[in-house]
Symmetry: C2
Amino acid sequence: MANDKKFVEQITSMEEDFAKWYTDIVKKADLIDYSSVKGCMIIRPYGYAIWENIQKILDARFKESGVENVYMPMFIPESLLTKEKEHVEGFAPEVAWVTHGGSERLTERLCVRPTSETLFCEHFANIIKSYRDLPMVYNQWCSVVRWEKTTRPFLRSREFLWQEGHTMHRTAKEAEARTVQMLNLYADFFEQDLGMPVVRGQKTEKEKFAGAKATYTVEALMHDGKALQGGTSHNFGTGFSEAFGIQFLDSDNTLKYPHETSWVVSTRIIGGIIMTHGDDSGLVLPPAVAPIQVVVIPVQMHKAGVLEAAQKIADTLKEAGIRVKLDDSDQLPGWKFSEYEMKGVPLRVEIGPRDLQENKCVIVRRDNREKSFISLDTLVESVQGGLEALRQAIYEKALKNREERTFTATTMEELVEIASTKSGYIRAMWCGDLACELKLKEEADVSSRCIPFGGQPVGTTCVCCGREAKKLVLWGKAY
Amino acid sequence: MANDKKFVEQITSMEEDFAKWYTDIVKKADLIDYSSVKGCMIIRPYGYAIWENIQKILDARFKESGVENVYMPMFIPESLLTKEKEHVEGFAPEVAWVTHGGSERLTERLCVRPTSETLFCEHFANIIKSYRDLPMVYNQWCSVVRWEKTTRPFLRSREFLWQEGHTMHRTAKEAEARTVQMLNLYADFFEQDLGMPVVRGQKTEKEKFAGAKATYTVEALMHDGKALQGGTSHNFGTGFSEAFGIQFLDSDNTLKYPHETSWVVSTRIIGGIIMTHGDDSGLVLPPAVAPIQVVVIPVQMHKAGVLEAAQKIADTLKEAGIRVKLDDSDQLPGWKFSEYEMKGVPLRVEIGPRDLQENKCVIVRRDNREKSFISLDTLVESVQGGLEALRQAIYEKALKNREERTFTATTMEELVEIASTKSGYIRAMWCGDLACELKLKEEADVSSRCIPFGGQPVGTTCVCCGREAKKLVLWGKAY
């Protein structure tokens, strides 16, 4: 166990320094590596496998809901980017510019896409003619670039991977329905597959996407009480359609502007998983996206029959569709235990000579380290049960954390007090004015995370100015 | 059928103008669209679905062979790109340069990856320490950029999608084995899944990849007799390892340079499929990658029971794992027939009132338009049989085309004569000198496609200089 101890000691404790704990994990769990490209990350096989699992689940659900995948160019000519005024103001300050092709200076510089509304709209203008062409429900999986000053792996980097859905609809009602549908799809994915409880709500004018009429969001609360925007779904109305001259001939024979939506999740999700479920031994991965769901570790491997039994366990689980790894390397079991705890593998199966005699094995859950001795005859059911129990338990734990970290403030003093002594969501009423939102940022260093759907009022007056309140807002500090 | 006729007439005939026929197809089959980004293409849903099927098949085979996926940054600092001398000379003239982030000039300009050897090597230098870390068998799916002067959809564009495998090995032998293994994997994919016969061989010094010790290739011959390089697999030896200082401690306790390979296929494959199998009615897609394998078209749709029967056929086929589409739109059957012929759907199932009475339907094969009347009781077997028959038939047809277009030349006069009057491969002996290779280019406008593995000599002297011949070479004109 000497080895074991040493390995675990390499991570900073979360209580001591959450930011450093995070950075330690992304490196020690082999999720990423740095390169000489400042602000960009290398996503290593273990990290990329998590992203592939995320993609697989979401992509299947997208397609079930009628989404078609496409691929747009990664470059946007400057003149195209600047076509929608609010949009370009939001993005121009943080784009990377290509100015030369080979040794020649380009006649017009191109930005590397920070997002692709403009490209999609140019394409839509080309291909949408009639109401029969609608709805058009497109998505692309790609990487985007934003020239951030300060970066952190998965949470904020100059290049990151994402999907961006872009849809066009005949009516405002249909566009709104798609915006909400995709938000709910994200919310279900976060809650059911990632074990991350989320709040569904609307962004304020200040926080919404550049060019959108309305931005909806799923917000998750991290272990340290800071918020993470998990996914967003935007209703653009006809703003881009008008800017790009996209019109369709409706059945009443008049030309109309279609209504647009877009919706996005990114590799940030991986940062969210780490900060929601991780602990001082490393990652804790939700089974749905874990590259390895079960690791089988033979104990006293050299004893007769042990390795064969471990192999048989692995084979049986694999056959049942479980992602399993047998580690029969010559490292000590204790080292292996630590290694797979660091990597957040949901279940560990141990088998040694005595277990073998008794036709059983040991299952250890990653989240609470609970050990169960189970019969090899019920191996698959026990493992499936264990994975499901872990999925529920990590959700419950995250929900409890959020509940304990959700506070209510009815006065500015209360709000400032909470913001300066605690970390989490603050529920408080808001009049709807930007001035109050800015004042909360200035005095309490919190931003509006969202106006939760169906949020129950906690008063009648704005926590800041005392005038009539329009909305309940969740305030907090965010990644 | 008026509609039908009109639709088909929109494509240029292949015999009349092969290049225009190609461009017509990529547009009319809805594979791509152009955008305001010069030299880049929009891959539309139908085109992208073909790429997704290609990815799915290859990725599964890669993983079976031990490949792990990663993601590298899309930018390469200029100093990193220039680390391996031959490599930078090959790529620097055609890269896109990012010079500004937001409004600030970068201290060092970054190129958008034309290929990622340099990034992988920098990473390998970081993570490879011991022989226990080897082999490292990585791949990434991404887009790359090369600032081409003249572009054509799928065949040559400024941005394209590809996979690039990069592996590191303990011994030269193991690296060579991986290089060949991946070439064979590609060849099998082309021949078995895409119905495209390929020649496996080695590139000459002149044609090999910048920085490689040896480049192997699978070469396919298009309908018009021009060659297409389908996929390449490179053995780099220790060239990059030395340039990047990648060393591992071997079991004999000495530091050694690992041996590297890389292997690549791209969206060019889609261009190859079009030009191998397409005809004057449009695309012909190999079933393995066809987004729709079977289209079901109800005839006299308004008659009692027809639509229900068509739906049942579609459901039955879907249940059997076949990608099927029922077109119950209000277009005329003739229009639909043309539309799905244009899109290259392998099989069409027609069902009308009389078929219904007789418990049968009609299957029409896309490649030869052969009609069969089959019992609905054996629907699934008949459709599976039809798909398999088409797969074999398009392979045979392409093989026949290649055989008919493979010529032999033993003198320069013969070679020039063939090259100026015919289109295809020319088998001719070569002394191994660059001068002769250049002369063939100058006098016959052909390049060396490859030195086929196991190629049988067609003489003993170089077709160009008359000195002793070292190799049989396939010469040709290429895309």
